[in-house]
Symmetry: C2
Subunit: 477 residues, 2 copies
Amino acid sequence: MPELVMTASSASAPDRLQAVLKALQPIMGERISMAPSVREEHSHGEAMNASNLPEAVVFAESTQDVATVLRHCHEWRVPVVAFGAGTSVEGHVVPPEQAISLDLSRMTDIVELNAEDLDCRVQAGITRQTLNVEIRDTGLFFPVDPGGEATIGGMCATRASGTAAVRYGTMKENVLGLTVVLATGEIIRTGGRVRKSSTGYDLTSLFVGSEGTLGIITEVQLRLHGRPDSVSAAICQFENLHDAIQTAMEIIQCGIPITRVELMDSVQMAASIQYSGLSEYQPLTTLFFEFTGSPAAVREQVETTEAIASGNNGLGFAWAESAEDRTRLWKARHDAYWAAKAIVPGARVISTDCIVPISRLGELIEGVHRDIEASGLRAPLLGHVGDGNFHTLIITDDTPEGHQLALDLDRKIVARALSLNGSCSGEHGVGMGKLEFLETEHGPGSLSVMRALKNTMDPHHILNPGKLLPPGPVYTG
Amino acid sequence: MPELVMTASSASAPDRLQAVLKALQPIMGERISMAPSVREEHSHGEAMNASNLPEAVVFAESTQDVATVLRHCHEWRVPVVAFGAGTSVEGHVVPPEQAISLDLSRMTDIVELNAEDLDCRVQAGITRQTLNVEIRDTGLFFPVDPGGEATIGGMCATRASGTAAVRYGTMKENVLGLTVVLATGEIIRTGGRVRKSSTGYDLTSLFVGSEGTLGIITEVQLRLHGRPDSVSAAICQFENLHDAIQTAMEIIQCGIPITRVELMDSVQMAASIQYSGLSEYQPLTTLFFEFTGSPAAVREQVETTEAIASGNNGLGFAWAESAEDRTRLWKARHDAYWAAKAIVPGARVISTDCIVPISRLGELIEGVHRDIEASGLRAPLLGHVGDGNFHTLIITDDTPEGHQLALDLDRKIVARALSLNGSCSGEHGVGMGKLEFLETEHGPGSLSVMRALKNTMDPHHILNPGKLLPPGPVYTG
């Protein structure tokens, strides 16, 4: 009697997964883990409630490893989710059923460093902090700073940005090229080392922000920037939210090349005063500034900014003269999440993330403050005000009812942002958390095109299925 | 006897074209032209030798017009080429056989102007010069400057840049969103007004640089910039090419926010001295500088630049103090093509366009100078040296043999650039002229993905067929 041959189209999902693992075992050996602790660690990102265990975790050590895994997963229609540092807050790394989590965190090489041209090529698993430590001697740095210790690959996949985007741009502006493994396991390179090019479709930009749904990024060519000679920081407080926003808006309109301009509302400032010991400040709306450049350039930026702030009823600049003071100030800004969490011990903090044209920001935040009040929740607010991007840190009970209250509030905030020409995510990405807003934001036509692209690149939907795109009609040309 | 029904799959190309024109006639009326002079005007771009008459030219006055034309062309499988100002130098606007040229030059509205947010939305047919005149009162301007009087839509389609890209970026960095008519006639909007977003595939970047092969761009949301308070210009001459390039490289490495830094080699400088009457200068390698910003910032940029140039054997800065002097200097730079053309009256001038990482530029240009010498041709060289991008203006007889000699030289130049991590086009695009280099530059894998995207967006290949992508294998997932 002939042995029954299993095929991808006839086998069950568990059998297909086993077929992949059987094929990978001789090649990947101990780099495949099914240990409960490892699976648990790869079952969720940060902040969001969603989680699901992968059946196995495979640790890739090269682009070739990633290609091998995808080739078999493609053959057997087994879903794969790339995993870097697990810092996503929108559920990007949560595996679907019967899936493999493909961990790239061992891929940390700097493949090339071209200091003269201000670029480098890194493997996707390196974190931005490690990169910046390793290239320190060159006088260069990679400026995109999303806060957490994220991997460069993950930052590409979510089109991350953060506090310095107002000066240096986001991952979109700072990635020159990629190595990507396609669903089939085929390896391609996109872009290159040149500063600009007019040859062919911009595949680099297509993969940046695609959240592992079109291919898995294994190497990244990055723009680097010279470390500035001079750094200066300050904060300015305002009785009135509109005055603070008007100040930020005028700074941008004047073309001041400010490095960071961050807003905390009075609730967040009160929490940060408490948590970070900033007792010399008032619980008022506050702008945090960072200026960099040559000493003369910094001086000029500062003078202009101070004049703008004072013209908008700013309550005087408080200078962080020393490096310690500066670090303390910016540490307080980066610890805002923990300060919010400390308001109600044991509570959960859920971060929203929306963005509007800066002229609409005052109207939006006022509306959000009303929504927060109506919700009965506490929700400090802070953001990258120079970009029009902010986060509300919703504090809620860690219960299903508590999550529901937070979600209801988030929906109101997003609806307001979208009605003001905004986007439902400035930098966290869609993942699972923002799926419901995409159609309102982009319209059915654009989404149908995105689905067509997804089907073209990954017809069996093995690449991070269920993320980024809600189901719906597909553009068919 | 029943009338025979013509179908798209059975009819000949001329019959299909007639079917489209018959369907469009009642809707578009006099906006369809078959006048020989109009067809001739739409048969070619600039500079390149290629031309072919469209069967008809349709003048669109709205996105809806474009949608109507595409819907019928899609139904009858009739090729469509968008036409703006016709300034392409790589044959982008040359119609294939039995095609319609769709002219968008009447679509010149500024749809919205959001001065507070530094953005605007324009119809694709407006030229950058007209836009800048119309928004002058706001104190804002659109900085991407490819030299010619191009339309914003055409600049998007070719991912144009030019002399100011070193400071302000290219179209890629300055387009926030688009309205695009897809092959079917469906209208979508991509991107939006926000400065950044992490929601969904970056369709805007996919269409920017797609040369009318994935959809036709009808509206563009643009970033604007504040007009600088202060402008200063200078030139500096060098005995040695490497010293000039080293100067440009150090300017970039130091992070000096220079607005323009342009190189002319000694051959081009000699021609420009003659043509533009710059008799106070020597026929030497020359850098042209423009500095903008606040008076203090300009002063500092200038001082640092002067120190760098002098450290690299620069023969002193020559200042253009007055606005007239500045205009004269930059007019000479912009007239470089005409200066080259005047070297040999009646000759043809063919512009090459390649780009490398700036550290490879010296090696590349030295090699190009050797290639030029070996060719026996004259070919002044100039470029956007801060980006690593330059053009050689090959002067040749306007005969098939002359064109062949120029083409042979161009191939050598491109091969050198590609061997130095370069791209075969920094800003002119692929069109028909650069098709042969794409596979070497991007590799077969990336091209197979581009073809798959093309097939998904335009399965019947009605959108500018024969441009941007050479035929070959298609990624099938």
